[in-house]
């Protein structure tokens, strides 16, 4: 019985923690495309996505760290930045922030209420902000999007904590770009 109880506690706490401690990454890719044809890229200002969040997109420290992390990760995947001539790829990013809700799970750990009906009495909704960083890679010749990657993380005072921001960008960007097919 105690094992079951402990397992329940573990699952509940893990579920609660997972909502605020993880960086989720994902990507969509043009299927069947041979990425070995691409070797070079340059940053592009074009962005067809809705306007992003000014706190991120106008934060020069954030942008500088992010761009540096992207360039390092792209180099590791075999793509070289060119600042002159015609690049094979155009790269741009978008930082959006959305409001999210969650159930305050830590408040309803078993034992929090002696009558056992802890969930009905202690549950409360919390709201928080989640940042989504989207990187789009476009074929410079055709203008078609060939890859989109993203990383998502709860904002949670990230902008006020430069060390955490640097750490999280360093962690998230390589994970995101690990899903990008390799260039030459």
């Amino acid at each position: 019985m105690s094992i079951l109880l402990r397992l329940t506690q573990l699952v509940v706490v893990a579920a609660g923690m997972s909502a605020c401690a993880t960086i989720n990454v994902g990507s969509h890719v043009e299927r069947g495309l041979d990425f070995s044809q691409y070797q070079t890229y340059e940053w592009s200002p074009h962005d067809a996505l809705p306007a992003g969040d000014a706190r991120l997109e106008e934060d020069m420290v954030f942008l500088d760290r992010m761009q540096g992390a992207f360039e390092k990760a792209l180099a590791a995947r075999g793509y070289q930045r060119v600042t002159f001539g015609s690049p094979d790829l155009l790269v741009h990013y978008h930082a959006a922030v959305s409001r999210r809700i969650d159930v305050d799970r830590l408040a309803r750990e078993p034992g929090a209420c002696p009558d056992g009906n802890v969930l009905a009495r202690n549950d409360r909704l919390i709201d928080y902000e989640r940042a989504t960083l989207v990187l789009d890679i476009v074929d410079a010749q055709t203008g078609r999007l060939v890859w989109r990657g993203w990383a998502r993380e709860d904002l949670d005072n990230l902008l006020d904590d430069q060390r955490r921001m640097a750490r999280d960008i360093t962690k998230a960007v390589p994970r995101m770009l690990a899903q990008l097919p390799r260039g030459l």
């Binding site: 994902g26 959305s98 549950d123």
Partner: protein, 179 residues
């Protein structure tokens, strides 16, 4: 007794965590009274003026858009509709996708027992709506949509495409036959 209660609670928690069916399960449709698909043979896509989804991963995402359109075209072809780019197409097809968050009480759908202490949970709710509009009059003739829990779905392209195909098939199953 206490063991059963704890086991039940564990089952509730686990079901809340893993039973995010991650599919657009609920399917509905409306039809204009007297709508007879047999009168319509060709269709074209509406211009993609506003495809905002509420999720930056899907906004202006050609892979997602192509997946929806390919699925719709496949299902409509099975029903005898012919795609055209002509402005005089019989039907204009449009679709809308939306991602929001919803709160549910876990265990609310249990049939054989109650679950008074199941925790509520929050999930990403997705909806996909397909409209069939008469090309000549621009009147909405038929609307079908699917909605459900899509938590974790968008991050996996193959899974997303598979679920879109299933959802579109289920939506268009509700289209009256007759072509």
């Amino acid at each position: 007794m206490h063991l059963i209660r704890i086991s039940g609670r564990l089952a509730c928690v686990l079901s809340a965590l893993i039973a995010c069916g991650c599919a657009l399960r609920d399917v509905h449709s409306f039809a204009e009274r007297g709508f007879d698909p047999a009168r319509f043979h060709t269709y074209r896509w509406a211009s993609a003026d506003d495809r905002a989804t509420g999720d930056p991963r899907l906004d202006d995402n050609p892979f997602f858009q192509r997946s929806v359109q390919t699925s719709v075209e496949s299902e409509l072809a099975k029903r005898g509709f012919e795609k055209t780019t002509s402005e005089t197409a019989d039907l204009v097809i449009d679709y809308y996708a939306r991602v929001t968050q919803r709160v549910e009480r876990a265990g609310a759908d249990l049939v054989y027992r109650s679950c008074t202490d199941c925790p509520p949970y929050v999930y990403d709710a997705g909806s996909l709506m397909i409209d069939l509009v008469e090309g000549r009059t621009r009147a909405l003739l038929w609307r079908g949509w699917a909605e459900g829990d899509i938590s974790g779905l968008i991050d996996n392209q193959s899974w997303l495409e598979e679920r879109i195909g299933q959802a579109v098939a289920r939506i268009l199953e509700r289209l009256p036959r007759g072509v």
